[in-house]
Amino acid sequence: MADAATRPLRIRSRATAELPRILCIAGFVIFVLVPLYWMVVTSIKPTSDYLALPPVWFPAEPTIVHYTAALFSYRGLDGLTNSIIIASASTVLSTVFGTLMAYSMARFNTGSGHLAFWVLSQRFLPPVATALPLFLMFRSWHLYDTHVGLIIVYTVMTLPLSVWMMYAYFRQLPRSLEDAALVDGLSRWQALWMVAVPLAAPGIVAAAVFVFVAVWTEFFFALVLTSRYAFTLPTVFRAFLGFQGAQYGEACALATTSLVPSIVLGILVQRHLVRGLTLGALRG
């Protein structure tokens, strides 16, 4: 009887306990989404609505004029194309080399930990320290303002990231799976390709996404090592802060455009980012 009497009270107290959590989540969602919304809505606002008071939450007459200006007049489309080429190529290269290196370090203890630390230590170096030498080298090797030049820089720059993410992943893959593959008649390469890589796919995909995003948003090397031809999307944004003041509409239009590939990529790989593929492979 006592149980029946206390039950409604308990339900109410559970709802009360949930309330702060719900408020926190709601606050966080607003914090994240409002700037995004403001960016998207500004990109379709007429110029007069940018800084209007009270703020215009949705323009009466949406326009795409900022998009055409940003993409064509400011060469945003060229920057977008360059960014897609450079980021994709760097991601593929960094992931392939990173996978091989991480596998070697994880399975054969290549470099016995010193190599792993050395790879990580590459991230300690401030980009400024390498920018000038790179600029001079690239100019004399005809790599300045080329896709290849930036792809090399970005591949090297992101390799520590991909190696370390995959190193951790390969290390926790059970060795016996590859042993079984070797005894089953696979070569080491086949064992890597047919067993280790599919099982490490979530780790590899996660590393690839991180590399892509890092390259996609990189500004400093792109600024120093390109000019009129191989420039990437982030460098285009410089043009929106000029003598005439800030071009909010164009900046927001290009920013919105630059979000699209990341979002598409995120949706495509989301499935692979879910871990736990190895569950059930080994002992029950």
Binding site: S176, L177, L186, Q190, L277, T278, L282, R283, G284
Partner: protein, 366 residues
């Protein structure tokens, strides 16, 4: 099919000398069980035969061919792993057929052979499932199927049953034994479970600290252990060890216990020449050789004593009873109704014809 010959094999891992000069000759078609406590080097030995570890010294030959330096895939051995090592991203069919696919066999042949193996192991209805959808026993069957699908020269089993529950383990043990009877390929089986070793093996190789302590037919090892270690390792419950001193009188000999009146007169044939008067010895007596005494007089070689039962552990078919002999605990395997309650005094016959006698210093049988 082929035998395996190992000569002077050594293997070290960062500071650990895991295998210390093993010589072993396994004839074609034999079921050999490598058994020993963990860390005795049995798994390392097996992995070296598979080619997953390189020998530091010595040779491994499969058939007539020395395979040191030969890649695992070219040794034509199949291995079943302790954790099954099924490829989680492949179906049961994919798991079993991988070795055939890797060797580029025609599709029709692959399907026929996988179907035959699946039929043999009763897993036909599982071929489309993934390992995570299988129970422990089913996974074990798939792992065995993966090994037998390509008729290797030698089968290697690395503690394949240790992850199964007791009932399933008994069942799979029977199936592995039957499998060997059916295909009679050389099998090398690693386990730390002495019951598995006794039931499966044509020959047991008992290892300790990287050495072979003793090898032979299961019953030979059980009945004539070369060392105390072997005697203690094989048999459950463990052999009783009683510390005493040899007293010789004329032709005969007896074991006396310090500060006690009790003495065990050794039967003719057991009073070995090596047993000098006053020598310290350890008498090894298996629980089944201590029985409740019945009748007036025991046969020669059997010593009757009377003792109070301290602890009684019924198992249903048998009851394990602990009593003291000259102050030392002894476990006896009695019939279920031989003793009704602890504290009861009963006559107990110790069959010394079957007892082993060890040197306490070297641990070797005398």
């Amino acid at each position: 099919m082929a035998g395996v010959r190992i000569s002077g094999l050594h293997k070290r891992f960062a500071g650990v000398h895991a295998v210390r000069g093993i010589d072993l000759d396994i004839p074609d078609g034999e079921f050999t069980v490598l058994v020993g406590p963990s860390g005795c080097g049995k798994s390392t030995l097996l992995r070296t035969i598979a080619g997953l570890e390189d020998a530091d010294a010595g040779t491994v030959a499969i058939g007539d061919e020395i395979v040191n330096g030969v890649r695992p895939r070219d040794r034509d051995v199949a291995m079943v792993f302790q954790d099954y090592a099924l490829y989680p991203h492949m179906t049961v069919f994919g798991n079993i057929s991988l070795s055939l696919r890797a060797r580029g066999r025609p599709k029709a042949e692959i399907e026929t052979r996988v179907a035959r193996v699946a039929d043999l192991l009763g897993i036909v209805n599982l071929l489309g499932r993934y390992p995570r959808q299988l129970s422990g026993g089913q996974r074990q069957r798939v792992a065995i199927g993966r090994a037998i699908v390509r008729n290797p020269r030698v089968f290697l089993f690395d503690e394949p049953l240790s992850n199964l529950d007791a009932q399933l383990r008994d069942e799979m043990r029977g199936e592995i034994k039957r499998l060997h009877q059916d295909i009679s390929t050389t099998m090398i089986y690693v386990t730390h479970d002495q019951i598995e070793a006794m039931t499966l093996a044509d020959r047991i190789v008992l290892m300790r600290e990287g050495w072979i302590e003793q090898q032979g037919a299961p019953l030979d090892l059980y009945e004539q252990p070369a060392t105390m270690f072997v005697a203690g390792f094989l048999g459950s419950p463990q052999m009783n060890f009683l510390r005493g001193r040899i007293v010789r009188s004329g032709e005969g000999a007896a074991v006396r216990f310090d500060g006690e009146d009790t003495s065990l007169v050794l039967p003719p044939g057991r009073e070995r020449k090596g047993l000098s008067d006053g020598a310290e010895v350890i008498v090894g007596l298996r629980p089944e050789h201590a029985r409740r005494g019945v009748g007036v007089e025991p046969v020669p070689g059997v010593v009757r004593t009377e003792a109070a039962i301290e602890l009684l552990q019924p198992t249903g078919s048998r009851s394990y009873a602990t009593f003291r002999l000259a102050g030392q605990p002894v476990l006896a395997e009695l019939q279920a109704h031989d003793v009704s309650r602890p504290g009861e005094r009963i006559p107990i016959d110790l069959d010394l014809r079957r007892a082993a006698i060890f040197d306490p210093q070297s641990g070797k049988a005398l």
